[in-house]
Subunit: 337 residues, 2 copies
Amino acid sequence: MVTIKDIARAAQVSITTVSRALNGYSDVNEETRKKIVAVADRLGYSPNIAARSLISKKSKTIGLLLSNVTRDSSKDNIAFEVLCGMNDRAGELDYDLVLFSTTPQKQKTKSYKKLCNERGVDGVIIMGIRLDDPYLEEIVSSEIPCVLIDIPLKGPNVGYVTSDNVKGACTAMVHLLENGHRHIGMINGHTQADVSRHRLRGYIDALASYGIPYNESYVMDGSFSEAAAKEAMYRMHSLYPELTAVFCASDLMALGAIQAVKGLGRSVPEHISIVGFDNIDIAAYHTPAITTVNQHKYETGYQAAQLLVDLLEGRNVNRYIVLNTELVKRDSVRTIL
Amino acid sequence: MVTIKDIARAAQVSITTVSRALNGYSDVNEETRKKIVAVADRLGYSPNIAARSLISKKSKTIGLLLSNVTRDSSKDNIAFEVLCGMNDRAGELDYDLVLFSTTPQKQKTKSYKKLCNERGVDGVIIMGIRLDDPYLEEIVSSEIPCVLIDIPLKGPNVGYVTSDNVKGACTAMVHLLENGHRHIGMINGHTQADVSRHRLRGYIDALASYGIPYNESYVMDGSFSEAAAKEAMYRMHSLYPELTAVFCASDLMALGAIQAVKGLGRSVPEHISIVGFDNIDIAAYHTPAITTVNQHKYETGYQAAQLLVDLLEGRNVNRYIVLNTELVKRDSVRTIL
DNA sequence: CTGTTAGCGCGTTCAG
DNA sequence: CTGAACGCGCTAACAG
């Protein structure tokens, strides 16, 4: 490994001068700078970030706390698209990303805050963590700059990126209502996700705007999983045969629901109309193609990275970003009289 | 930030003693150790990895050099599944992952080797990089331990994880041949990927085993992209109407090929049979469901992480891992007489 | 068993 | 414009 000391020796100057020359300080002779840069290049020097961050307290590194980066989370590649957006923007801004191995159930012996401190990340982006996570509160209220995706917590140094889930859900519901559906069920995600609450609100609001009373038992838990949603759909169909449509709070759950409908010998959308949420890739290729609410996943990650860096570099920006969603009409909804 | 110095002061011992106590050295009194650990806990101490790695030259960090972690790579979530596998295993082994923002075309001013040196990663996993990448050779022949996924290069400290692409392609072809197809085209990925070469070999081998001469013009370039494959299929169909089946070197390209067939007013598998490769999630949900060669993506990542850590920790293991593939029969192939 | 000393690679006063 | 000296947080000899 070649250090500035090596360069200093080779260029016949002091270590300090090398440091200043390489960091673009103005108070160094243009001649010496050129010589130093040349030597550095020749020797293939690259600065040691560990040493640098030891002093500067900055590492140009963003920590990532994600769930859904484990086995069986591939279909739901939302996390991946968001990650792509973060990766792109972070790269442009010259930051690297470190993925914390947020071990699932395994004894999480270390708090998120400790994780960040140890690694010396400048800030952290958090996504997919449940609201009841034991370490969430701690890091959010710490001094570490955080950007939360779909998690509504306040803190001294936090930013927030989300989608307009209420409106999105509402639009999806209005679409069903406009198509004549009056008995509409909902399969929601678990309650420890903020989006579940918002999407439920959209469901309720849309119903209200059509003067339809909200029937709590029409809403079942699908826990954001295909299997759980499938089961919920089975129960829903036998308990409430009057339902002609079901709004699912994720496409993965829509997939499960459709399987249940098929399992019952019925079909979508002939017997039951289904609307999903997220617009995952499978939704478009599925038969029937699933009508869903598109979420800008890549953009979410991109904005989150941007916002975090803004926070890090002390820019005074809006810390609350809400992205649009839009209805994507496809073939899983039919019009009834 | 609380350091060992703080602990030393609070516990009335020297800094060294704190260091030894916390790092589990045997030569420290059980009494003092307990006291120190207690103080450390109370103060919420966590070690500064930057400082530690400055001395130990180890950072418990694995670098990741991936392509396909940018916009428009979501359908092809192979990278994501592999990433999940790496993340899981790395987590279990107590390593963190850092994603290098391997800026796409943008002026890659920094070589991969420099990237690794600066960040002080212990080793690096490389995937999706083209064989003609300018910096690939450099890092592979450096002292930095590397694990290459689907890249066949030798180096002093490299491991290699791949799938049996020849066999996989061969199995796919034999399936077509067994179903009576005799005029079979191939849409291959770009030549700067090792898997393309292997899959082509499988194609040729299978043909040979049935005594069918290899016709070079039956193989077209789809560059691993949906759009390029679509175009290739159009050309293929008009130039060689005798083809009854096409083997695509990726599912994404199979998707493109199918679109072209549809665009021609024909259908799969009635007019043309298609077999893909990879077994991406969409393949199962697509109509017709795509017959393909399954690749163990998660396992690939898992094994790559394991292998790299083995290399890092000096274990003498097999550095060459080849994972099985298997044919997944679905609905995109028909039997002809 | 414990403390003292030195130094990892770098940036930053403060004198020249 | 340049250099000597110091210290970031930590580990590793080397004494005692």
